[in-house]
């Protein structure tokens, strides 16, 4: 058994006993005939999913209520088998909340749910792009957190962007009801309002580009932003971007520098770009084949400021010819991809069903 597992087991065992002490503290207030015994909160995958206790009284008379709440009882299911009673709340008991068991309008027991993860405060691991200099038609920002973040409220309410050149807070992001988080809810995609970036659209005409060339902007994360278990970041994270001229050219693989590794080694295959590319799309946009068209398994390592990427083989490179396939969805910071500019009209076509174009670079490993 490793240390982590042991720790988890300890946590599981300690929590119910903590709960039991809380209950004992409340017990003298209750009438003995309606008393409850062996109050235990049961955790599953770190979530407080059920409450069990024993009582001689009719199970239908028990109610659960959040401490401090006056009238609304918890939704859930009360099941019983003899004297053993189990309450399954509609959703697990929430970390940081305390609850009471009521009968005939009187409190007869209580318990507190602590943060079951024990992981502490979340951190901002990275802002993408990581570079400090961005074009005025920058399309996306990504924020990588160390753990899943709260799913309630709007992310943009926890991010303050300030035009440092003018000393003013500015609203640059597209407000979406359904925010663009990854499945783990620890990577957030923020669009700088595309309607303001595309020339000719009403938002662009009315308000201009979200960020202006020659200005610098600070992106500040509120310490109040919480993890999914309610722990605030607590620390202010900030990144400053300096805005330069717009990028109105497609990334062109012909301009990229490819450094083949040596044969019979595990050296990286390095690909350098004249500009930073999209950090999240980069590792998804390459595919390697050998001379016979067989796929080669590779892993990726982003270079500084996303201006290069290293492709690492699982086994030693074999000598011979290779083809690097590049998906045309790969974008630069302004959302220009290999086959089209972001600020360009599409001639019909559902963006979903457009043919995915593939560019290729051929090279030899010697």
């Amino acid at each position: 058994m490793d240390v982590k597992t042991l720790h988890q087991l300890t946590l599981k065992k300690i929590k119910p006993s903590l709960v039991f002490f809380c209950f004992l503290a409340f017990l003298p207030a209750c009438r003995q005939e309606h008393g409850i015994r062996n109050l235990v909160v049961h955790y599953h995958n770190g979530r407080a999913e059920t409450l069990s206790f024993e009582s001689d009284a009719d199970p239908a008379g028990f109610r659960l209520i959040r401490s401090g709440e006056m009238e609304t009882y918890l939704l859930g299911e009360m099941v019983s088998s003899g004297k053993a009673i189990e309450f399954i709340p509609a959703i697990p008991f929430q970390p940081g909340q305390s609850y009471e068991v009521h009968r005939d309008g009187q409190k007869i027991g209580g318990f507190i749910i602590s943060d079951p993860t024990g992981k502490g405060s979340p951190e901002v691991l990275q802002f993408y792009p990581t570079t400090d200099s961005v074009p005025e038609n920058l399309l996306k920002l990504y924020i990588q957190f160390s753990m899943p973040m709260q799913e309630v409220g709007h992310a943009v309410d926890f991010i303050q962007v300030r035009d440092k050149s003018e000393g003013q807070p500015v609203d640059i992001f597209l407000h979406l009801e359904s925010e663009l988080w990854n499945k783990e809810h620890n990577l957030l995609t923020l669009w700088l309002d595309p309607g303001r970036i595309k020339t000719g659209l009403i938002p662009n005409k009315a308000m201009g580009l979200p960020i202006k060339a020659g200005h610098s902007y600070s992106v500040r994360i509120s310490p109040e932003w919480k993890s999914a278990t309610g722990q605030p970041i607590g620390e202010g994270y900030q990144k400053t971007y300096y805005v330069g001229a717009g990028d109105r050219a497609r990334p062109n693989p012909a301009d990229w520098k490819l450094q083949p590794p040596k044969g019979n080694s595990k050296d990286p295959l390095k690909l350098s770009f004249p500009e930073p590319l999209d950090a999240i799309l980069l590792p998804e946009s390459f595919h390697l084949q050998d001379g016979e068209g067989r796929n080669i398994q590779i892993t990726f390592q982003l270079g500084p400021h996303e201006t290069s990427i290293e492709l690492l083989p699982l086994n030693n490179w074999k000598k011979g010819s290779y083809t690097l396939l590049i998906d045309s969805i790969l974008e630069d910071l302004a959302g220009n991809n290999i086959s089209r500019l972001f600020d360009e009209e599409l001639q019909g076509g559902n963006p979903d069903s457009r043919v995915s174009e593939v560019e290729q670079l051929d090279f030899t490993i010697e």
Partner: protein
């Protein structure tokens, strides 16, 4: 004789009712439904179909679920609703506080007139609640009779062989059931593009998607990038149209019969309702023989537009709005209801809405359409 006949009719309709209640899964619409845990990860959009079928738009798994609520008791009216501190009441019933929950959508079952709410917890746990006779009930999302369809990317022609593409993030922005089809507007995180899907129900093995392209007034060309925020289906001169709206509030009409698989439909901008605003919900209703359209907004009051004005507006706005936040196009009235966050038809005579009041309270209220 007449009495007996009526009695007999009543008996047989009772029999029919009980038959339909006990054998609901034999309904052609529910024939593919299975009972298990559907694996719903988030409930972002709700839309009712017939026979108590509730469509759930799950952005996290990019899936539309059709669930059988078995809520088939027919009611002509929804009854009066007035609940103050509504978010606090929901939170308390889930064992938490109002700042730890979000109401993501609201929909009324047209059969029972019960109001359903989707709620998201701090860690994303989805909850489905039903308001019936003033009390909240939990609708389990774990043990359900359902069918589903994934909004998977169509396989890209010419893509490299069997390449595993990372799952795209889908944000389902609005959803509605109309005339045998689930209409879904959405947005993806990677290639910025608005998509609009028309999915036949019962869900088929093969996905039959159609697409829409957005006509932006100021641009004068087709625009595939603006995400639809909300839409409704409206009927003008016996023809169905999608009425869609976007951030900065253009109102655009698309003929529904032109939505066919693989085709792209031209829209017509009939109003520009102001920059610095996002539309939230749309509904239509009838009052004294006339049809009206309502739209709630993030930074503007609920707007009311007469159908006859939409039908009579034959132009397409093609000139840019030059002054910030000015409006153009079809005439509309501002109703005295700001910050309406959820809006739906409760029954033919009433609407139901969730509103943030000037005092900061969140209220759930019904209101007769006479006063809308």
């Amino acid at each position: 004789m007449m009495k007996k006949l009526l009695f007999g009719l009543a008996i047989s309709s009772l029999l029919l009712l009980s038959l339909s209640a006990t054998t609901s899964n034999t309904s052609p619409l529910k024939k593919d439904f299975i009972t298990s845990d559907p694996g719903i990860a988030s409930v972002d959009q709700l839309a009712f179909g017939p026979e108590g079928i509730l469509f759930i738009g799950d952005s996290e798994t990019a899936t539309v679920f059709a669930i059988d609520t078995k809520d088939l008791e027919s009611n002509a009216a929804g009854g009066e609703i007035s609940i103050e501190g509504f978010d606090g009441k929901i939170a308390a019933s889930l064992g938490t506080t109002a700042d730890q929950i979000a109401i993501t959508d609201m929909a009324v079952n047209p059969v029972s007139k019960a109001v359903y709410f989707s709620v998201k917890m701090m860690d994303g746990t989805p909850v489905l609640l039903k308001l019936k006779d003033g009390a909240l009930e939990n609708v389990s999302l774990k043990d359900l009779s359902y069918s589903k369809i994934e909004l998977a990317d169509p396989v890209a022609v010419g893509a490299v062989d069997h390449r595993e593409r990372p799952l795209r993030i889908w944000a389902i922005s609005d959803m509605q059931f109309h005339n045998g089809k689930v209409l879904v507007s959405g947005l993806s995180n990677k290639e910025f593009g608005s998509t609009f899907r028309s999915i036949p129900f019962p869900f088929a093995d093969t996905q039959d998607y159609a697409s829409l392209e957005i006509w932006h007034a100021a641009h004068g060309e087709y625009e595939t990038h603006a995400p639809i925020k909300t839409f409704d289906v409206i009927q003008l001169d016996s023809k169905d149209y999608i009425m869609a709206s976007y951030t900065c509030t253009p109102l655009v009409l698309f003929p529904l019969d032109e939505l066919k698989d693989g085709t792209h439909t031209k829209g017509r901008t009939v109003a520009e309702l102001g920059a610095g605003n996002s539309p939230i919900d749309m509904i239509s209703y009838e009052k004294e023989g006339k049809k009206y359209f309502l739209m709630s907004n993030s930074n503007r009051p609920v707007m009311r537009i007469k159908y006859e004005n939409i039908a009579g507006f034959q132009e397409s706005l093609t000139t840019p709005v030059t002054e910030f936040a000015t409006t153009e196009g079809v005439a509309y009235d501002n109703l005295p209801f700001p910050y309406v966050l959820q809006l739906d038809n409760l029954d033919p005579e009433n609407v139901v809405y969730v509103q943030r009041t000037a005092e900061g309270d969140l209220v759930l209220k019904s209101r007769t359409v006479k006063w809308m």
